[in-house]
Symmetry: C2
Subunit: 212 residues, 2 copies
Amino acid sequence: MASRAETTAGSGDREPRTERGRKTLRRLLEAAAAEFGERGFHEAAINGITGRAGVALGTFYTYFESKEEVFRALVREMSRATRAHVAEAVKDAPDRLAAERLGLEAFIAFVRRHPELYRIIEEAQFVAQDAYREHYRSFADAYRRNLSAARSRGEISPGSGDVEETDEARSWALIGTSVFLGMRYGIWEQDLPPGRVAEIAIELVSEGLRRR
Amino acid sequence: MASRAETTAGSGDREPRTERGRKTLRRLLEAAAAEFGERGFHEAAINGITGRAGVALGTFYTYFESKEEVFRALVREMSRATRAHVAEAVKDAPDRLAAERLGLEAFIAFVRRHPELYRIIEEAQFVAQDAYREHYRSFADAYRRNLSAARSRGEISPGSGDVEETDEARSWALIGTSVFLGMRYGIWEQDLPPGRVAEIAIELVSEGLRRR
DNA sequence: ATGAAACCTGAGTCAATGTTCAAGTTCGCG
DNA sequence: CGCGAACTTGAACATTGACTCAGGTTTCAT
């Protein structure tokens, strides 16, 4: 059981050693994102990936053990990129409700620029369940911490009942909202600007539907 | 272009003419729901479907033109069943907010009893996009009408800005909430009863997060 | 009863494609 | 340079599973 040097946990087991290798790997990943994004996991062909990357079929297997492995690598990478993008957009928000709005707006805009990302992550539900759950689990955990902190600062209502339960369920409700608004207004029809969509959604979850 | 007698729009083109035929068709549909639900579209085998149904492989093609066609038939059927179940649960609700709560609770409970249904509809996103969009489009339309009617009765706040835009976006936000809560509390972990999940979510969208 | 339509059978066809591999080329260190 | 490691190549392999079809059985209207 010789151990193997691993810089980034869990990625492939073939870190390129030369400049040429790193470049090829990068091109393969980009090609895979395009191929999976356009055709979906099952329609996508390794052939198509290597074709787009401009390398021979066999080269793929120098860098990845299987079709599923590239796919997982992409899911991880895109999950990371999405979280980073939203975090960046939110970092100067004065309070939680402002952060919600900025985050949602940034998310929808991001989805518009990267529709392939959306498709790949959602399809992970059926191709790499664990990666999919991990993705939303980390989103939900971050959300929960944010809600909890805002509650402590008195920025948001504590809700009725157990606060842990409440924070967790609220997180999933808010994530669902983002994902579906991203699908409807980011991918399917772009008939409202992200800012307006975020405004409506944030008014919904901050003021509520009840007439006052 | 001779027209063909079609009772139910768009189904297969092979209505059975005998009692035996109707029974076989029913068994094939049930078997397909189980096979697709357990293994997903691509892992599912026609072989597996006919095996579960207790008929020979070729019999499948007496009733369906292809694997995709059964899948689409199932999506339509399950979409209908879900809407019917939620509509039934909601029919005696005194007002919109009560209806939201009853509907969400019923939805989560339904998902728990029929996880295969959930998987099939979500996978349609990648196997039969049009059927998937149709499913959520009809949900959203129903939602929009309900919100609009409630607004007219003065039960809910009109929100700021264009009311049509608001109703549409609110519909998708609420659907996203249901779908994600259904996934998290109906399928992944059943650590809260549907009633409690619905309570938290409905408090969120009726009272809002803002502290008062 | 009877014959035609409906239904069932399951071995065989066939195309698609993920993966392997032996042979060649390029890189970079000493 | 020069040599071993890294990298590339693409034909060949192997599996898989959707779909066909020619022939047999059952149903049911007359």
